[in-house]
């Protein structure tokens, strides 16, 4: 057996080496890696993150993918920021709703991805639909409205991104044909169009021009002041500004710096110069200079943070880059598939070697998910179950971990099967919730609360227990079609269900009560019959019903197994179904696709239970005609 384990470990070592020895991505055309660009610290969505994450979040929101054209997101974002004209034909806007596509008379693309240039002619229609949809209450919006809102917001975000560094580019507002005026300002006499930053460099001369009565001077001043004031909403907040009397730095965009006083020198002037230079070098294709300028810029920001005693920020940024690069959950899925295939072959052919492969693979995947979640906790500084995405990942980890323990104890393959199946499935489901930043900031009521953290973690472990119980229940039902109900094999599985259900009871009941304590701490009442509270109570009640019915001999092992499978339906309803109702204090965002999937699962599960019950009873009559 040791030989088998050694072979397995060797196999996994090679797999890991392959996974982590990948070279950083390099754009072959430009021979630039954008590693320094990926490290730029930005403030977005209320938290600090690396430029790489910002790029991934935007691209995910636009296209549902974290890479474009085979290259990572930062390549795409750099192009959008510094060479936006050449990104207008890139098909990055995903529109799945056919009604919307037909409504604006757009030609359907194979992958439902459209470019800015394809959508721009329909801008007015999209805006009209957007106004209609945004006036509807959230609950009344249909798939069409949601598609319109998403597309409109994405287009606006894209436009904002393309404008973030527009201060370095020539524009239609700042046109100057008067040679005398150009001379007066010290501008290039051979050009008529200038960038905002070129004018800003002449701010003293510009200020003097304010008293001039010439039409062209007035026009120039108006354009300059208009851009300074009205563009302050443009992203990206990447400049660390020291504010007097504040311990922490304030993160601002270049346009925000300009808006403070367009005629005054700012403390961030050297950083802005670097930004301007790097934008220029990118446009010129001088990627060496681009990279060097970013390095200098990052160094300056780090110095500012160090002086303000915020060096910890840089560590978190490094960790987030590591997290993005590692892609732990993707690798975990791959390893879970291996574990699943191995255990399936074991259950069919009974080779013990395959069982060990499955256990070790699951163990490895668990470590990967654990590392991924731990890094997320470090970055976000909170419990790993604050949104639906995280609960799915946490449930994947929990089901795989506890099932592997069951497997090590019971050694019958059921635990290993449950670990691999649940680990993979829940990680797959979690992907459905990646629509942008998966570590968003929390609402005020959810922040800094010990009871909330303990409640959510405990209740989620309760869900884990119920799911494991349900999977074991499925095993019982399938085995009951082969063996008599009194057989030792079925008896053993029934004991497993009992143990697993007891485990679920501890965590579900504790989680429910801890939820009550949180509610008491936050709202002044222990129990309020809120839908989510009721959902948790339903799980506890269902477990109690099963235990009491079994003890009272109302149901036997088969009924207990069927009940445990139905417990999964109750769990899914409590976990996700509550969001259907759009009421209560806990309802987080719910997408139409998910609700359909949920209904489909419940229907399938109930039909399965009905058919299984009939089939098992018939089969048992054949297996045991005397009863």
């Amino acid at each position: 057996m040791m030989k088998d384990v050694f072979k397995t470990l060797l196999f996994f070592s090679f797999l890991l080496l392959f996974a982590f020895s990948k070279e950083p991505q390099v754009d072959k055309k430009s021979n630039v890696s954008l590693q320094n660009f990926a490290k730029i610290i930005v403030s977005d969505g209320g938290r600090l993150k690396p430029m790489q994450s910002l790029a991934m979040n935007y691209l995910l929101a636009f296209s549902g993918r974290s890479a474009y054209d085979g290259k990572s997101a930062e390549f795409w974002l750099a192009k959008v920021l510094f060479d936006s004209e050449n990104t207008r034909d890139e098909k990055i806007f995903r529109i799945d709703n056919l009604d919307f596509i037909h409504a604006i008379d757009l030609k359907k693309e194979v992958k439902n991805l459209y470019s800015f240039n394809q959508l721009e002619p329909y801008g007015k229609d999209i805006e009209r639909f957007y106004i209609d949809a945004s006036h509807k209450p959230k609950e009344s919006r249909n798939a069409f409205d949601n598609a319109v809102l998403k597309t409109y917001v994405n287009l606006v975000d894209y436009f904002y991104l393309t404008s973030a560094f527009s201060f370095t580019q020539g524009n239609n507002f700042i046109r100057l044909e008067d040679k005398k005026l150009k001379q007066q300002l010290g501008l290039d006499l051979t050009r008529d169009s200038f960038s905002y930053i070129e004018l800003r460099e002449k701010k003293e001369a510009l200020e003097k021009l304010k008293s001039s009565s010439s039409k062209e001077s007035k026009h120039l001043i108006d354009a300059y002041e208009m851009m300074s004031k009205e563009y302050e909403e443009y992203p990206i907040h990447l400049l660390a500004l020291k504010m007097p009397g504040k311990d922490e730095v304030t993160w601002v965009s270049a346009w925000q710096v300009f808006s403070i006083n367009p005629y005054q020198e700012s403390s961030l002037e050297s950083e802005i110069k670097l930004l301007s230079d790097l934008a220029y070098s990118y446009k010129q294709g001088d990627f060496k200079a681009f990279d060097e300028n970013i390095e200098k810029f990052n160094e300056k920001v780090s110095n500012t943070l160090r002086l303000q005693g915020q060096s910890g920020v840089a560590n978190k940024i490094k960790m987030e880059i590591f997290y993005n690069k590692m892609n732990a959950f993707l690798w975990a899925k791959v390893v879970f598939v291996l574990a699943f295939l191995s255990i399936c072959f074991f259950l069919l052919k009974n080779f013990s070697f395959l069982r060990w492969i499955s256990i070790i693979a699951s163990f490895l995947a668990i470590i990967l998910v654990f590392i991924g979640l731990s890094v997320r906790i470090y970055i976000s500084g909170r419990a790993p179950v604050t949104n639906l995405y995280e609960t799915f990942v946490f449930v994947a980890l929990g089901t795989a971990f506890f099932s592997t323990i069951v497997e090590l104890y019971k050694k019958n393959g059921i635990g290993a099967f449950t670990a691999a199946f649940c680990g993979f499935s829940f990680l797959m489901f979690s992907d459905g919730f990646v629509k942008g930043d998966t570590m968003p900031v929390l609402a005020a009521v959810l922040r800094n609360n010990f009871w909330l953290t303990t409640h959510v973690v405990t209740i989620t472990i309760g869900y884990v227990g119920m799911i494991i119980t349900g999977i074991i229940g499925h095993f019982f039902i399938f085995m009951a079609m082969k063996y008599p109900l009194t057989s030792p094999k079925l008896n053993e599985i029934s004991q497993m269900i009992k143990g697993s259900l007891a485990f679920s009871f501890i965590f579900s009941s504790m989680g429910t009560i801890l939820g009550g304590i949180w509610a008491d701490q936050s709202w002044g009442r222990f129990w309020g019959w809120d839908p989510k509270e009721n959902g948790a109570l339903l799980i506890v009640l269902w477990i109690l019903i099963l235990f009491h019915a079994k003890a009272g001999k109302i149901i036997k092992d088969l009924g207990f197994a069927i009940g445990s499978v139905f417990g999964m339906v109750v769990t899914v309803l409590a976990w996700l179904g509550v969001n259907f109702l759009s009421v209560g204090l806990h309802s987080y965002g719910f997408t139409e696709g998910v609700s359909k999937g949920l209904l489909f699962y419940i229907a399938i599960q109930i039909i399965f239970l009905y058919l299984a019950f009939i089939l098992v009873l018939r089969r048992q009559k054949i297996l045991n005609p005397s009863k």
């Binding site: 922040r447 002044g524 009721n534 339903l538």
Partner: protein
């Protein structure tokens, strides 16, 4: 013990503690919780509480009597106490079970105590304002003001008001129709299907728009029929509905005087950087007793202030854009038994863990004896 043996022979005791009865009760409770949750979508949390959870019985489809959750919980508590006293075996190996069963009983008992003795309400203050009145979350009064003779002013508890009532005040005869408006009502344009009525705010179109409901909030409304016209009086209306120069109507939340008062010194909302997402709300409040300032405290989200049995929670924040006035809403709860669930949680966790460990050890011992390990 002899008396335990004796009581076990009682058919009543056998029935009450029977696992079949408990299973059926739990099943009924399961369905009550399920349907009570669904009911909230249509009728709001407070109506669901009233019908399914806080009631002893209710009528399904208007005529089928059904037990309410309170009745089921009472029978379960009875069953549990009988079981604990008469049947539960007090051996060391049952320590987990003993703790679980007694803790669950005391949980039910603590709910009962809370139901009887706790109270809660809201207080909304603008910066600089003070009050010692707490607004009831869902109890309202219907008031008929008589400007000419204030002693004729009538105050009727909305719960006591019939669905359709007839009133006479001075020379006016009018009918009142109570609206089940636990959900929020909005005025929407007539072209969208609103019912044409007259209202305090001057808008003449009304619809009970279900999509805009706020099930956590109870804001009632009444329709007033006078001289062939329909008027709408809404709980959120700032002004009274004037029927003529003397008679006016108003819906007001019931209030309760507190032994302590609050004065809002300042309220702050802090957003996450470069976003409009609220990071925290914090109010600076002066606590007063008999109009004498006692102390100044800070109350923020998740950090209530407890004083003389009252817990004061930061509940909401509102900025009136027209006047730039900041308002802070506090939830005020009085529950002398609030500590019970905290202690019971510890006992329940201890009991469940002990039981789980004991069962595991016994099971393992059996496996060892059977030669499986």
């Amino acid at each position: 013990m002899y008396w335990r043996e004796n009581l076990r022979g009682s058919r009543f005791v056998q029935l009450v503690v029977s696992l079949k009865l408990v299973t059926i009760l739990l099943l009924i409770l399961f369905f009550l919780v399920f349907f009570g949750t669904l009911y909230q979508v249509e009728f709001g949390l407070l109506k669901a509480q009233e019908r399914y959870f806080n009631s002893l019985y209710f009528f399904a489809f208007g005529w089928i009597p059904m037990p309410g959750a309170s009745l089921i919980l009472c029978i379960l508590a009875l069953s549990l106490i009988f079981f604990n006293v008469i049947y539960l075996k007090y051996f060391w190996r049952n320590i987990g079970l003993i703790l679980i069963h007694w803790t669950v009983f005391f949980f039910l008992f603590s709910f009962f105590l809370t139901y009887l003795f706790s109270k809660s309400g809201y207080m909304t203050l603008s910066e600089g304002a003070a009050s010692f009145f707490m607004r009831h979350p869902y109890r309202w009064d219907f008031i008929i003001y008589d400007k000419k003779d204030f002693s004729h002013t009538k105050k009727i508890n909305l719960l006591d008001l019939k669905e359709n009532a007839h009133f006479q005040a001075n020379a006016l005869d009018f009918n009142i129709k109570k609206i089940e408006a636990n959900a929020k009502i909005f005025y929407i344009p007539e072209k969208s299907g609103g019912k044409k009525v007259l209202s305090v705010s001057g808008m003449n179109v009304f619809v009970n728009d279900k999509s805009k409901r706020d099930p956590q909030k109870y804001v009632p409304a009444v329709e007033v029929e006078l001289r062939g016209e329909t008027y709408m009086l809404y709980g959120d209306d700032d002004e009274a509905l004037k029927l003529d120069d003397e008679i006016s109507l108003r819906l007001m939340p019931q209030t309760e005087a507190l032994p302590i008062g609050l004065r809002l010194v300042e309220v702050k909302q802090e957003n996450y950087e470069n976003t409009v997402i609220a990071k925290s709300y914090e109010s600076t409040v002066e606590i007063t007793e008999k109009n004498t300032p006692i102390k100044k405290v800070k109350i923020s989200m998740n950090e209530p202030y407890r004083y003389r049995g009252y817990s004061i929670f930061q509940n909401g924040y509102y900025l009136d854009p027209a006047y730039q006035t900041k308002y802070s809403t506090f939830e005020i709860a009085y529950n002398p038994f609030y500590f019970l669930p905290y202690w019971l949680t510890i006992f329940l966790f201890l009991g469940a863990s002990l039981h789980f460990i004991i069962v595991f050890l016994v099971h393992n011992k059996k496996r060892v004896n059977a030669g499986k390990i």
